[in-house]
Symmetry: C2
Subunit: 518 residues, 2 copies
């Protein structure tokens, strides 16, 4: 496998799964040329005039869509760990004797370990999407036939739009749909909020299949996915386990260290002058982020400050901000709990967004760079502020990128992380995998101290008199190494075998994940 | 000019404005091949990170967009007869010394007679869109440099999507917008309802300029046009005369003949068995159509029937249906009065649609063919049920096609028209211009009698016992000719000079409009 050194000094393949690649050229250095993907022109002649696209089964739809060996099939993670449909889809593909599928999910969850058998028997050739848990282990150990490709949510849209990934058949799980294919995620027993991760697929895939367990008469309103892009509709009894689709158990952290981090984040945002009328922030799920929202809310109330918009991953905590008048809008990329689903259904100011609006780097701007502050996590951060979200220090793939890379473009990107986990340093000399270039990461907030990127002289100045424990990042590293007994052990990897790559938001190759040998 | 005979026996140019054409091949006979238009890939690198795309003037935006001779510039008719912006746009283009523009409006209004000077001086080369009033006269008399092209609303989307018309610069009048370019028509002093006619332009044009007289902080919600497709935003004091944007004076007809027609339509729809729970219909503006809605409403109430959806052009009469629970939804293509605007702003079941969802024939189906009954007008209908909406019997262009052609695909298409106007027959042997092939037109309802297309044996059977004055169409023609003193005089035209063509919904050429000599 031929590797080349990219602008961050990382070695990445010049070719992936038979296709030539562009190595990462630096932040904002690669300018695309060429035109967007161009789907075939369809005609109403070939669709039922009365608008009824329902076919009798998923198998039937796949047949009509022309399923064959080597195709790219896309799915989405709206149903999260309750997603039975993707497993049933591949059971069906297997039963049809079709092989070598490129599976292109927007993310995978533990429930998809069911698909290991299909990676082993050749039904699935490789995955382009997150490879978590058992799928991550399988991939990291070098057992997948092709090379995995990890993209951010925005990068996934970009790859489809730019024609890097041609989807043959998109299979969209829809909590509610009509026979024409209009679909949404806000209604029905499998309601998950929005289904915007399927937008690119509905626009660009050759064939689009909507599968629903709540078929309603035309029109299905709102139509988050437009029936005018849909070929077939399949009605099933159940898309999956509703209790796992939206967990409903998004809990605030109880860890004193994490609570301290959350408090620091809120204080930092206020003292940096970011928290002012009309400001905006993005907060994801995870116990620390949820706690941060509560601390910031108290500060907003105390100062009489109102946000113009907040971005989620929505949770009941963001919904409370909206309902208490502390923000004009929630611009929501995915709903993390049932309160988020309810609010999106009921409140026109809880707006569903898509990777196109929020994150696509190959558009005429996107929402992510408009945000005043984004609070994110990481598995590792190095002394140059480079950060990792896909592997742990043992070299194993464990997470997807989600919208993380895209959010780095916010005006103030804060990583809120513990300085070590399970006695393994999180702040270190060099991350296992670079997912985000340090120049885009402004602040690292740990329980042990806060490091501001030296590039951000404005923030250093604004926080000069702060009571917050602001320190050079190397000092935090030193402290952590001392506590943990030195730097983390490096995994033994096969440097000749790349098992997956991390793409940057512009489609270039940012880093490689190597086979872990031991 | 070389002409060829198409499937309806009409002579149409083989080439229009230098581009080869496909003559109409019959309803549902032409199947497109090839791929959709492919706009250039953009990058966030080239757009302001903080999302502020406001430039200082329209002229500045046009310069940045690279305006030059021969370009295609698109505008939209959302502001109707209050549209000052389009006039200002061409004043600006003229002041920049740019020539030979192809103007691609979604429709034109009397206010645009201001542009005659630019057709005369070569600023505008030709119009592709409706040519009404003075523009129609200018065109029909053979004075326009190029050949006009008339398309339906759906045909306009199709032409852009298919790459038949490449828009260089789209100028979108937005009653409300934010600095990122998100825009809507429901708020602001120039509120017009929706701005969906600009959807295709925003998706496919090289450069997109949003002009607003109500700039709000990001995010502008709802975003009917997405800022991610917008290059520049221009703030102006006024887009036009708000009193003319939405007339607010949509009046029911007082003519006894027209009221009779409206009553016949309502009775027909009930007796044909169309008016049943869950049914749908489309009604446009115009006194007869408005009256029909009232008559049908009485019948629905009397029978306890509720519609699933109605389509407009919305008016207060459709809004009343929604608010009184007589329909679940209004699927609205454009708002005709202030009540329509209010309802769209307030009621999530008053849904804005676009030519993509409603009408595009080169999609995976569209809403128009799902409708149970569409009630439309016409300027002329012949004994083969072919109908005309763009010219009068004097040969002059007087109207655009609007969504009329697209609506012909409804399950029951009814033309509700007087049998003659100003002592000129409307029912006749041969229409001046064919805009709709007779095989798609099911029923002609006049004050003098109702003609059912012999193809619709089901309707003939259902109405067998009806008290309605159902007659063969030739009988109505004979009566009308007798009243009017014979067939209408034919205009003297120059058969060597096509001044405009009528496209069918699939992009083929349906008919020609010839230069009127006298």
């Amino acid at each position: 496998m031929k590797l080349t050194e990219n602008a961050l000094g990382r070695f990445v393949p010049v070719e992936i799964n038979g296709e030539a690649q562009i190595p990462f050229q630096g932040v904002n250095q690669y300018r695309p040329n060429g035109c967007k993907a161009k789907p075939p022109i369809r005609s109403c002649i070939d669709y039922p005039e009365e608008g009824n696209k329902v076919v009798k089964s998923l198998k039937d739809a796949l047949k009509k869509a022309g399923l064959r060996d080597g195709m790219t099939i896309s799915t989405h993670h709206h149903l999260r760990n309750g997603d039975d449909l993707t497993n049933i889809l591949f059971d069906t593909i297997k039963s049809m004797g079709v092989k070598d599928i490129r599976w292109f999910p927007s993310a995978s969850f533990p429930i998809h370990q069911h698909l290991l058998q299909y990676l082993e028997d050749g039904t699935i050739h490789h995955i382009e999407g997150s490879m978590n848990g058992p799928l991550g282990k399988f991939t990291t150990e070098g057992k997948m036939k092709g090379i995995g490709v990890l993209r951010s949510h925005g990068g996934r849209y970009q790859a489809v739009q730019d024609g890097e990934v041609h989807i043959d058949i998109a299979v969209i799980a829809a909590p509610t749909a009509d026979p024409f294919g209009n679909a949404n995620g806000v209604n029905g027993k499998s309601a998950c909020g929005l289904i915007g991760f399927a937008l690119a697929d509905s626009e660009y895939a050759d064939r689009v299949i909507v599968v629903t367990d709540n078929l309603v008469p035309f029109p299905c309103v709102p139509w988050q996915i437009q029936g005018n892009n849909v070929d077939y509709v399949v009605q099933v009894d159940s898309l999956g386990d509703a209790t796992k689709i939206v967990s409903g158990t998004t809990e605030i952290t109880k860890s004193p260290d994490r609570l301290l981090i959350a408090e620091y984040v809120a204080q930092f945002i206020e003292e940096a002058g970011i928290m002012k009328d009309g400001f905006s922030f993005q907060a994801g799920s995870g116990g620390t982020n949820l706690a941060f929202v509560l601390y910031l809310k108290e500060r907003m109330k105390a100062k009489g400050v109102k946000a113009r918009f907040v971005r989620g991953g929505s949770t009941k905590y963001l919904v409370e901000l909206l309902e208490e008048g502390l923000t004009d809008y929630i611009l929501d990329g995915q709903t993390f709990d049932l309160e988020g689903v309810r609010s999106m259904r009921e409140n026109p100011n809880h707006v569903n967004t898509s990777p196109f609006t929020s994150y696509n780097f190959h558009g005429k701007g996107n929402f992510a760079s408009i945000i005043d502050a984004a609070v994110l996590g990481a598995t590792e951060v190095d002394i140059n502020f480079n950060a990792n979200v896909v592997t742990h220090s043992d070299g194993y793939l464990l997470h997807g990128i989600g919208g993380w890379q895209n959010c780095l473009y916010s005006k103030c990107t804060i990583l809120a992380i513990p300085s070590f986990r399970d006695r393994i340093p999180v702040i270190m000399d060099e991350v296992t995998t670079i997912c985000g270039p340090g120049e885009l990461i402004d602040v690292i907030i740990t329980e042990r101290g806060i490091a501001i990127n030296p590039k951000r002289k404005d923030l250093l100045k604004a926080l000069k008199e702060s009571s917050l424990p602001i320190k050079p990042i190397k000092q935090i590293r030193d402290e952590v190494y001392e506590i943990c007994g030195g730097k983390p052990a490096k995994p033994v990897v096969n440097k000749d075998k790349v098992v997956a790559v991390v793409k940057w938001v512009d489609g270039t190759v940012l880093d490689s994940v190597f086979q872990v040998v031991k």
